[in-house]
């Protein structure tokens, strides 16, 4: 009996030893949440850091509302357990307004040249809120077969090089040609419940047609935008409404032109780099609207392992790791030193498209607004407008006027200027 007791005791001790081996650094992130990305984060990215520095990291993937609630509660109770936060610019901006984040201006990261625009964005009201970690955008992925059906006057170079001819009208004519030639719609968008269709509406087509994301939601220019979408609707693949990412429909050739986040078309390009081109989004009457997604690393006020968190930031912004993240999750580097390390192939194709878009002179850059928990309502407003006007045939002017009121109320409630 005594022997059995000793054996149970020894096994229990062995099993619980790692718990007492040293407290891990809690890294809460709203990025790298999908299962495959979590595996990469835990077993490649952070394991490498642990091997290199001897610091164990507990990766905590979270949705933004949960992270915000938890961090607010921890800071309020002065019992902070999270030492590092990985979040989008907008979310960090909101956390900063609630005084949840430390000032990082004292941190020096040697041999790093951050892209100036991103570095500027990370300083909010004179406070260095975060270190730019990675960036992404949304682009159009084109199966090269589609180039055979370009409308008259539009060349491949116009599309890939973001020329003035690469417009939303050109996209409409191109989609029509594809539909007629291939007996079915070949243009796709991620309109499923978890898809990012709302980003296209508020960050791409709205700025391209009206110059703003929300400020001119019910303007006359916006009416033209909705008329355009009604015209484009027959050439959108019906299954768009269930697609959450466009890599699969592209690979299966269900669509030949698709718009989505770079991370969500990456697999198609990696699998068949010869078949696809990544091209900038088209331009509208007010310019070429597109979103730049900046992801930052921030340290909460009262973080228990601030020094180790700085070491982790240093590691995560090193050139090799930045390229590894591009390879695995499709987010682009934020430091210039990484540009020369990107290998030829699929990643170069992606990077070319992204750079062509961000380098276009008619850019109308849109940042995702920092609306916190109201972000969902903001996105839903655009999706609802599309469903009501384009799918259900509701009156455009009445619908956009009523939705514009809701949008203004959201911005007013959060205290963010209307974009």
């Amino acid at each position: 009996m005594f022997r059995r007791f000793i054996a149970v005791l020894v096994i229990t001790l062995l099993l619980t030893l790692p718990v007492f081996a040293g407290e891990a650094l809690n890294f809460a992130s709203t990025q790298m949440v999908p299962a495959a990305e979590q595996i990469f984060a835990k077993s490649v990215l952070l394991k490498g850091f642990a091997d290199e520095s001897g610091i164990n990291v507990e990766f905590i993937p979270m949705e933004y509302p949960d992270l915000f609630t938890r961090l607010s509660a921890e800071v309020f109770a002065q019992k902070v357990t999270i030492s590092l936060v990985g979040e989008l610019h907008g979310g960090l901006d909101l956390m900063n307004t609630k005084v949840l984040l430390d000032d990082l201006s004292g941190i020096t990261l040697p041999n790093r040249t951050f892209i100036k625009a991103l570095e500027d964005y990370s300083v909010l009201a004179g406070k260095k809120v975060y270190v730019p970690w990675m960036q992404a955008t949304y682009v159009m992925a084109v199966n090269k077969k589609a180039f055979q059906y370009l409308p008259a006057g539009l060349k491949v170079e116009d599309v890939t090089g973001a020329s003035e001819k690469w417009t939303y009208d050109a996209l409409l004519n191109w989609s029509k040609n594809l539909n007629d030639a291939l007996k079915g719609p070949k243009l796709g968008f991620p309109m499923g419940p978890k898809g990012l269709w709302h980003r296209f509406l508020h960050g791409y087509i709205y700025p391209s047609f009206t110059g703003y994301q929300a400020a001119a939601f019910d303007s006359l220019r916006a009416v033209k935008l909705w008329e355009y979408l009604k015209e484009l609707r027959p050439y959108m693949h019906p299954s768009s409404s269930v697609w959450e990412s466009m890599d699969e429909p592209l690979l299966k050739e269900e669509v030949l032109i698709a718009w989505d986040h770079t991370a969500r078309v990456k697999n198609a390009v990696i699998e068949k780099p010869e078949d696809f081109a990544i091209v900038p989004s088209p331009r509208g009457p007010q310019g070429r609207g597109y979103i730049t997604v900046a992801v930052g690393l921030a340290i909460p006020v009262g973080a228990p392992q601030k020094d180790n968190a700085v070491k982790l930031i240093d590691y995560l912004t090193s050139p090799d790791i930045q390229v590894k993240m591009l390879e695995n999750i499709g987010f682009f580097p934020t430091i210039k030193e990484a540009e020369g390390v990107i290998p030829e192939g699929a990643l170069k194709i992606l990077a070319t498209g992204v750079l062509s878009q961000s380098g276009s002179p008619d850019s109308v850059i849109a940042m995702i607004p920092s609306l916190g928990a109201k972000g969902g309502e903001f996105s839903a407003a655009y999706r609802d407008a599309f469903t009501k006007i384009v799918i259900e045939g509701a009156d455009t002017e009445t619908t956009i006027i009523s939705i514009a009121d809701k949008l203004r109320a959201i911005f007013k409630e959060i205290g963010v200027p209307l974009l």
């Binding site: 509302p65 007996k183 609707r233 019906p238 768009s240 409404s241 309502e377």
Partner: protein
């Protein structure tokens, strides 16, 4: 051997179910109370029915209620009839009936998400069905079974998927009920010259009524929980009550409206359960 006094023995049953009671109170009772609280407190902290008024003014709520009821009406009767027919068929105990039984029960092992994904791969424009029809020259261009503006077609794909996925549950309940009916009744019926229909209506149906009631109740209540299949095959093209709970909670972070949706689902389920239990009460269980 531990011995207990008479007084202690009186408390043992209560002590034994105390852990379960604590668990239920903590993990079901408390959230339930909080949900009720959320549903009846407005955004400004006022107690009342403001959240219910907000929902009643939202066209999506009425669409979700209508779609949920339509799904219930389309799925449950078909499922019960199909399950009854299959159960009667398998109860014939023909050669190889066990194999048929296993095949029918396969979907029981599938989650709703797996079933929806299989259905998606069959019915999508590049799916098995379209490829088959195109290969054999029945159609030139693919048929779109779901997607933008095709919610009525998607509705029937959802019904079909749910029928395939959830009928085995009803089938198992009914088969178990059929298998315990004593053969003596049927032998007696033969002596009196009952036809097959008479045997079904006067013996089989009355004796399976309690199980039928349970099956109907379970399936009806489960119909209010249908979520994964609808979400994957139609997104929010076909809004349903359970989907709106998730949407309000996870996408819009509107906990009050999510709780209000949840309360309404619970209320409807309670009313339906009461109706089933009252209306389908069996009167001839004891002879």
């Amino acid at each position: 051997m531990i011995s207990f006094s008479q007084r202690e023995k009186k408390w043992i049953p209560y002590l034994l179910f105390l852990p379960a009671l604590i668990y239920l109170a903590g993990f079901i009772g408390y959230p339930l109370v909080k949900t009720l609280q959320l549903a009846f407190i407005s955004e400004k902290g006022k107690v009342g029915i403001e959240n219910f008024i907000t929902l009643s003014q939202d066209s999506t709520f009425w669409k979700a209620l209508k779609n949920t009821l339509y799904l219930l009406i389309a799925i449950v009767p078909l499922q019960v009839i199909l399950a009854f027919l299959l159960a009667l068929f398998v109860d014939g105990r023909f050669k190889g009936y066990m194999t048929v039984l296993y095949i029918i029960c396969i979907p029981l092992a599938l989650s709703d998400v797996s079933a929806a994904l299989m259905s998606y791969n069959i019915f999508t424009s590049h799916g098995f069905l379209n490829k088959f029809l195109m290969k054999f020259g029945f159609i030139d261009v693919p048929i779109y079974f779901f997607g933008l503006g095709l919610s009525s077609r998607a509705f029937w794909v959802i019904v079909l998927t749910e029928l395939w996925r959830a009928t085995p549950l009803v089938f198992v309940i009914l088969l178990a009920s059929l298998q315990v009916i004593s053969k003596d009744y049927f032998e007696a019926a033969d002596v009196f010259g009952f036809s097959s229909w008479q045997k079904f209506f006067h013996i089989t149906l009355p004796l399976t009524m309690p199980s039928l009631q349970s099956a109907l109740l379970i399936r009806t209540l489960f119909s209010f929980q249908i979520f994964g299949v609808v979400w994957l095959l139609s997104g929010r093209d076909i809004p349903i009550l359970a989907g709106e709970v998730y949407y309000q909670q996870a996408e819009l972070s509107n906990f009050r409206l999510a709780a209000t949706y949840g309360f309404i689902i619970a209320l409807i389920c309670i009313i339906i359960s009461w109706a089933y239990i009252t209306l389908l009460k069996t009167k001839h269980l004891e002879v």
